[in-house]
Amino acid sequence: MKARVHVMLKNGVLDPQGEAVRHALGAMGFAGVNGVRQGKVIELDLDEGASKADVETMCEKLLANTVIESYSVEMI
């Protein structure tokens, strides 16, 4: 089984990379892009029976820095 973890900078934490992407899209002529936030996706290949709680512990301890990042876990 697999888990997919989305890690994003928390709201209120400036995302300079997202801002740069937003500027670039505007410069390319894509109008109406009001904001861009850039995060990362981490896919885990797990033993059968692994729980969402296990993955959340991994997020708390390593995959996300909860000072600046939020995460969500999707079991797939």
């Binding site: 900078l9 300079p16 990379q17 390593l62 820095n65 000072v67 600046i68």
Partner: protein
């Protein structure tokens, strides 16, 4: 003073830091990241700059969970001294020994230049060799040096006089111009600028020397 300098795969300021400690009179032990113990009698642990584990996942995140970092945290917990510079500062925030985090520079560029730093407090064994409020020139070299913490934490750092250094001209977007902070017991310092790169006349500046000398003076009998 017996200093241990941690070496991670990707560390690149480890030898510079060792030379700076030695120049201040320290005995220096280099400690590999897979080691599970610090040498006996270590007074201070130096966590050097570089790109530990290739900055994979987040700067300092993998290093913070390496075997030796558990020992570094235990050393700090016993009241031992720790100096984290640049990537070392990132490692110390990832371990939780210091609050906050280091984000990508606001201008997105890697910045390598000498900057002015205001010594925000002289009340620590790292900064006692400087006059509070004085300005020193120290090089920075980082891509992720933009200090972030929530507003309560920033207020607490100021209230407890734990901001060690502030940029005179903020190069990276750091909150409150913060370049370096102290732990609650004032024995752990994390800073983005590189005092070990301003510790010899050949470096073009020696403003970092006073930091290492102050430590040597404080830790001489430890």
């Amino acid at each position: 003073m017996h200093a241990a300098v941690i070496v991670f795969p990707g560390s690149n300021c480890d030898r510079d830091l060792a030379v700076a400690f030695e120049a201040a009179g320290a005995k220096v032990s280099m400690v590999w990241h897979k080691d599970t113990a610090l040498p006996d009698g270590v007074d201070i642990v130096g966590v050097p700059g570089g790109f530990s584990y290739g900055d994979y996942l987040r700067c300092g995140a993998i290093a913070a969970n390496s075997p030796i970092c558990r020992e570094v945290a235990a050393h700090a917990g016993r009241g031992g001294y720790v100096l984290g510079i640049c990537n070392g500062f990132q490692v110390l925030t990832e371990t939780g020994l210091l609050p906050g985090a280091l984000l990508r520079n606001a201008g997105l560029k890697y910045i390598c230049k000498t900057v002015g730093l205001k010594v925000a407090t002289a009340d620590s064994d790292f900064t006692s060799g400087y006059d509070a409020g004085s300005v020193i020139n120290i090089p920075i070299a980082h891509h992720d040096g933009n200090y972030f913490a929530d507003s309560e934490t920033i207020a607490q750092l100021h209230a407890e006089d734990r901001v060690a250094f502030k940029y005179t001209e903020n190069p990276n977007g750091a909150q409150a111009d913060i370049a370096g902070i102290l732990s609650e017991n004032r024995r752990v310092l994390g800073m983005m600028p590189h005092p070990e790169r301003a510790a010899d006349a050949g470096h073009g500046g020696t403003d970092g020397t006073a930091l290492f000398r102050a430590l040597a003076g404080a830790l001489v009998t430890a």
